[in-house]
């Protein structure tokens, strides 16, 4: 019965192949799963290492590490208030400038610009988002700093600096470097990032909604204000928070133009320092003292926590929009 044996042999071979495939399937699933979970563990390991490295600083200074503004490498007294303040202030300034401009660009690209312009300008914005941050830092130092120092800051100091109540924020020597300059450079860096995300978000609004509004006689502004913005509210806020996360973690762009001073000053014209600039400047020589090194790693941990506090709500808000859009 040769045919039957052929069938039986075939069956055996098929069974063998099926077993092999099952094994390969398992191996494949296992390998890819390993890769995916390694991402998870990398983040945990990073946070853990930062916390572990910073434990000496935390245990020595306690909560005072965050509130003290003394950064004294000679007497090994480290308080991170000034760098934390600098990081937060420069990022807030960056957002205050970048958000309206990014909205303007996104609205321009989705509603205003003629269709032949939209693709190239949109592409240009995305390309600009890819310029390395060190270029922004260099441009800031060589071009913006002299410009601001000679033409803008003297005016600001003389006029805005004399106002009641908000004067101290604008008073100071026209050095050109300082927190205001760093905030401006950060803003310019973050604009293409937020603008391109906002553009994607605005484009996701179903055209039926907008067309219905137009059909009822709305002006473009009304469509944007009453339809697009409310629809994309969580995603827009999420995009802004992503930009904030980027600004908080930026190192090279600010180190060049911040001035690296640990003296606390509320003025935007005065130099300051940020967490990333402090770590980048001082890490190499800090290894001479375990407490010094631990303090810098503790700073990194604090930064990571601040970034997480910004990113997690952002992600949740973006997730909400995705759910609503049905993806």
């Amino acid at each position: 019965m040769p045919f039957a044996t052929t069938l039986a042999v075939n069956d055996q071979r098929l069974a063998a192949i099926a077993q092999q495939d099952a094994r390969k399937d398992r191996a494949f699933a296992w390998l890819t799963g390993l890769a995916a979970w390694s991402v998870f563990f990398t983040l945990l390991a990073t946070i853990g290492t930062m916390f572990w490295g910073g434990r000496e600083a935390f245990s020595t200074f306690g909560f005072g590490f965050i509130t003290s503004s003394t950064w004294d490498p000679v007497n090994l007294q480290f308080g991170a208030f000034v760098p934390i303040y600098g990081t937060l202030v420069t990022s807030v300034i960056a957002l205050v400038i970048a958000v309206p401009i990014s909205f303007g660009i996104a609205v321009f690209l989705t509603e205003l610009a003629p269709s032949w312009m939209r693709r190239p300008v949109g592409t240009a914005i995305e390309l600009l988002a890819g310029i390395p941050s060190i270029v922004y830092g260099m441009w800031g130092l060589f071009v913006l700093v002299p410009f601001l120092g000679e033409h803008v800051f003297p005016w600001v100091d003389a006029n805005l600096g004399q106002l009641w109540l908000i004067g101290p924020v604008f008073r100071g020597p026209p050095l050109g470097v300082g927190m205001g300059t760093a905030g401006l450079v950060l803003a310019i860096m973050v604009i293409p990032f937020i603008a391109s995300v906002l553009r994607e978000v605005f484009l996701s609004v179903p055209s039926q909604l907008k067309e219905s509004a137009y059909a009822l006689g709305s002006t473009t502004t009304e469509v944007v204000w009453h339809i697009v913005l409310p629809y994309t509210r969580s995603a827009s806020i999420g995009a802004i928070f992503l930009g904030l996360g980027r600004a908080l973690g930026e190192t090279m762009a600010v180190t060049f133009v911040l001035g690296n001073s640990f003296n606390f000053s509320p003025s935007l014209l005065d130099p300051g320092t940020s967490i990333t600039a402090t770590i980048a400047n001082e890490f190499a020589e800090a290894s001479i003292s375990p407490l010094y090194e631990s303090s810098l790693i503790a700073l990194a941990f604090v930064l990571f926590m601040v970034v997480l506090a910004v990113l997690i709500p952002a992600k949740l808000m973006l997730r909400q929009l995705a759910k609503r859009a049905g993806t």
Partner: protein, 338 residues
């Protein structure tokens, strides 16, 4: 863009095998103070012997840490380690070259060497007590010079450095309030001013801000055509930072009686001495991870003492006097087993 696994594994294997054979590359790290000289010596030595000496200027503190951790073959520092520290870390220390820390100023209408300052006044400026260039304390020292009513912007180092160490060591010697309030070290808590990263950063900021007063090593000042300050030394005379005034300060130093060459020569006596002269020190392990590389490093230093003085002086450093070199040779023979 994506390299196949095979290619990358081959590349890794090839380079590992290359590095396992004797690497004709010595690594050193440390002071930015001596970076111009190290750089020039390194490329000249490479041209002569094919040996690469890769020096990274990450600051004296970094150099000390790296050589202690044995991650480099030699470290360089402007702040000498005390003999106890050296013994504890198993290191030897010897001078390499002498230079000077120079206060530099950017003031419209003022040329190099015109402004005179004393140590105490310099300290007061860096303390933030004197804030304008036409302050009476400065005017008192500069009769006949019209100083503008411009704000003084202090520029210091944002990273730890032996340049800072020598500078604040000098300020501590001549200004009691500085000593009490700030003290000395490779990095200090600056009462006022901006921080630039490295000598380069201080020079960059000083050049950009009118009224800025910073401190850099002479070669950075010379190469950048910056205006230096004339300082009053311990003998009361006002001197300019020149190779001769550095040499005078170095000559007054008592090397013979120093243990492990621990000696800071700021505020040196002598009518012609520059008050902020600094010595750069090299650190090496007594028990290195690679004796061949350590030996090669010593060969490099021998070459530097013999052939490096001309290029060093072209950059604003002073070569070590011959007696000192002899003393160093004896020290090597006594302390190093390779």
């Amino acid at each position: 863009m994506k390299i196949t696994l095979k290619q990358s594994v081959l590349a890794v294997c090839a380079s590992l095998s290359m590095s396992l054979s004797f690497a004709a590359e010595i690594t050193g790290a440390g002071a930015t103070f001596v970076f111009p000289a190290m750089s020039r010596w390194s490329s000249d030595y490479n041209a002569a012997t094919q040996v690469k000496v890769n020096y990274q200027s990450i600051g004296s503190g970094g150099g000390i840490a790296q050589v202690k951790a044995k991650t480099v073959d030699f470290g360089s520092t402007d702040a000498p380690l005390k003999p106890e520290e050296l013994a504890a870390a198993g290191l030897v220390q010897f001078p390499s070259v002498i230079g000077g820390v120079v206060p530099v100023v950017n003031l419209k209408g003022i040329n190099a060497g015109q402004v005179k300052l004393s140590g105490k006044v310099l300290g007061d400026i860096f303390l933030g007590k004197i804030t304008q260039w036409n302050a009476p304390e400065i005017a008192a020292l500069n009769a006949g010079l019209a100083l503008p009513n411009v704000r003084i912007t202090v520029v210091h180092r944002s990273d730890g450095s032996g340049t800072t160490f020598n500078f604040v060591n000098y300020l501590s010697k001549v200004n009691a309030e500085w000593k009490a309030k700030v003290g000395e070290g490779v990095a200090v808590r600056w009462p006022t001013g901006l921080g630039g990263k490295g000598n380069e950063g201080v020079a960059a900021y000083t050049k950009r801000i009118n009224g800025a007063l910073g401190y850099v090593e002479l070669s950075y000042a010379t190469l950048n055509k910056m205006s230096h300050i004339s300082m009053q030394n311990a003998a009361g005379k006002f001197v300019q930072p020149t190779l001769d005034s550095f040499r005078a300060a170095a000559a007054s130093a008592d090397w013979k009686n120093s243990k492990d060459f621990y000696l800071v020569i700021t505020d040196a006596p002598g009518a012609a001495s520059w008050p902020i002269t600094a010595t750069n020190f090299m650190l090496m392990q007594k028990l290195p991870t690679s004796p061949e590389r350590a030996k090669a490093a010593l060969e490099f230093f021998k070459w530097v003492y013999a052939n490096g003085s001309k290029s060093a002086e072209a950059l604003g450093y002073v070569a070590l006097p011959n007696e000192l070199v002899a003393q160093i040779n004896a020290y090597w023979i006594a302390n190093l087993k390779y």
